[in-house]
Symmetry: none
DNA sequence: ATATTCTTGTAACATTTTGTTCATATCCAT
DNA sequence: ATGGATATGAACAAAATGTTACAAGAATAT
C-alpha cells in the first residue's frame, strides 16, 4: 500500500519540489502551507500520513509547538516527524528531538539525504510494529525475512516473500489478484497476468505442506488460511 | 521497546506527578514508596527498569545506602540512577555521584530539566552498553575494535569494522543494502553500488570460516546469523 | 619531507539468482 | 461439455551479487 507524506511548509517552491520528488519515489503527498492546516490534515482520519515533514519556520503556529501538539494526539503520537529548518545550531537540534521529532534536516539539504533519512525513519517505525505470524506449522518472521515450515527453514525470494506477507496481512479476507499485483508489483505494473500465478505456484511449492495455506478463489484472487 | 522508569519516592504527590509526566513522554513507570520496595522492584527480572529516579530522603533505608546496594548487584550495576533531593549542598552532590549516581537533581526541579537529564543519561547508557558479541567461534569487542575468529585475532579496517558492527547490531533483522550504506558510508554517499559488495567480500574473507556468519539476502541486503 | 604501506573506491567482468513469458495441461462454474 | 480461469514446467531475460585487479588517497614510518 502506498504511503502518504504530509508536507508542512509555507514556501511553495520547496513544497512543490518535495512533492514532485516524493511522488517520483512512489509516495502520495499532502501539502499544508500553515501549521494550523498541517495539524488539521495530520489529524484527518481519512488520510492519516505515514510521515510528516515539518518546516520549523512557519507563519502562525510555531513548528516546535506543532510538533508538541502532534505528540499529544493519540492518532499522531507515533507518526514519524522529520524537521526541516535553516537553523543549524546544535541547541535547536536537541530541542527539536526532545520535542519528539524523529530526525532533523538542515536547509539547504540534498533531496537524496532527506530521502535516506525518511527511509531510515520509516524503517524504524515499521520494525517496531512488525508482528510476526506463526501457527503450529508455519512461522514467518517479517523483519528477518525468514520462513519456516514444519521446522524446516524455507528460502524465499523478494517477490515470494512480499506475496506471502501480503497474503498473511489480509488473512481471512480474499486478496484480489489486482490488489496483490498492485501491492507486490506496484501500481504501474502492466505485465503478463500469468506472472502472479507463477509466483503463487512457486510459493506453494517452497512452502511444501504449508502450501495448502493459500487457497485459490477462482475469479477473484487468493486467500491465506492458517495451517491447521 | 518501551523503557521503564522506577521511581523510588515516598512523597505520593511527587511520585504521581512524575508518573503522569513520564507516561506522557512514553515511558512505563513503577513506583516504590520505600527503599526496600525499591530495591526489590529494581531486582525484579520481569520489570528491569531502564533508569531509576531515587529520592535521597527516604524512610527506612537511606538513599545513599540503596544506591550502593544497587551498584553491587550485577543486574543493576549499570542501570542509570538519578538522585532527587532537597539538599542543595555541593558536598551531597559529590557524595551522591561517588556512590554511583549518574546525575543529581535538586528539588524543587522543573520537569523539563529532569527530563533533559534523563534523556542525556539514557543516551549515554545506550552508547556505553556496546555489549560485545561473542559465540563459540567469533568474538567481537566493539570497545577496542578487536575481532577474533576461532581464537585467531583478525585485523579489520574501520569500514570493515563499521560494517560488521552494523550487521551484528541488526541481528535478527535483515540489514538492507541502503541501510548499511546510510549507516556506514553516510546519508549523502553517492558512490558505486558495488562498493558494498566489495567490502562484504573483504569482511567475509578476513573472517575466514566465520565469513559464513554473513548471509546474503538477494534483493534486500545481508543478514548476520551467529556462527553455529 | 619523502617513501612506504595500508585503505578505500571504482571498474570490468563472471557468476548466480530472480523474474517473466510462453506453451500446454488442468481445473472450475455454468 | 465448454469457455474462461488457473496450474505447471521450461526457457529465456534481466537484475543482483561475487570476484579480481588497479589506482588514488590516507596513514604511517623513515
Amino acid at each position: 500500500m502506498r504511503q502518504t507524506i504530509l508536507i508542512i511548509e509555507d514556501d511553495a517552491d520547496i513544497a512543490e519540489s518535495l512533492e514532485y520528488n516524493f511522488k517520483r519515489e512512489g509516495f502520495q503527498t499532502v501539502i499544508a502551507e500553515s501549521g494550523e492546516k498541517g495539524l488539521r490534515l495530520a489529524l484527518d482520519e481519512k488520510s492519516t500520513p505515514s510521515l510528516i515533514i515539518l518546516d520549523l519556520m512557519l507563519p502562525g503556529m510555531n513548528g516546535m509547538e506543532l510538533c508538541r501538539k502532534l505528540r499529544r494526539e493519540p492518532l499522531t503520537e507515533k507518526t514519524p516527524v522529520i524537521m526541516l529548518t535553516a537553523k543549524a545550531a546544535e541547541s535547536d537540534k536537541i530541542a527539536g528531538l526532545e520535542m519528539g521529532a524523529d530526525d532533523y534536516v538542515v536547509k539547504p539539504f540534498s533531496f537524496k539525504e532527506l530521502m535516506a533519512r525518511i527511509r531510515a525513519v520509516l524503517r524504524r517505525a515499521e520494525t517496531e510494529s512488525a508482528a510476526n505470524y506463526s501457527d503450529n506449522h508455519l512461522t514467518v518472521d517479517f523483519g528477518d525475512m525468514r520462513v519456516a515450515c514444519e521446522g524446516n527453514s524455507v528460502k524465499l525470494t523478494r517477490k515470494e516473500f512480499a506475496l506471502l506477507e501480503n497474503l498473511i496481512r489480509t488473512m481471512g479476507r480474499v486478496a484480489a489478484r489486482q490488489q496483490l499485483l498492485d501491492n507486490v508489483w506496484g501500481y504501474s505494473y502492466f505485465g503478463d497476468t500469468r506472472t502472479l500465478d507463477v509466483h503463487i505456484r512457486r510459493l506453494r511449492q517452497k512452502l511444501g505442506e504449508c502450501g495448502a495455506c493459500i487457497e485459490t478463489v477462482v475469479g477473484v484472487g487468493y486467500r491465506f488460511i492458517g495451517c491447521q
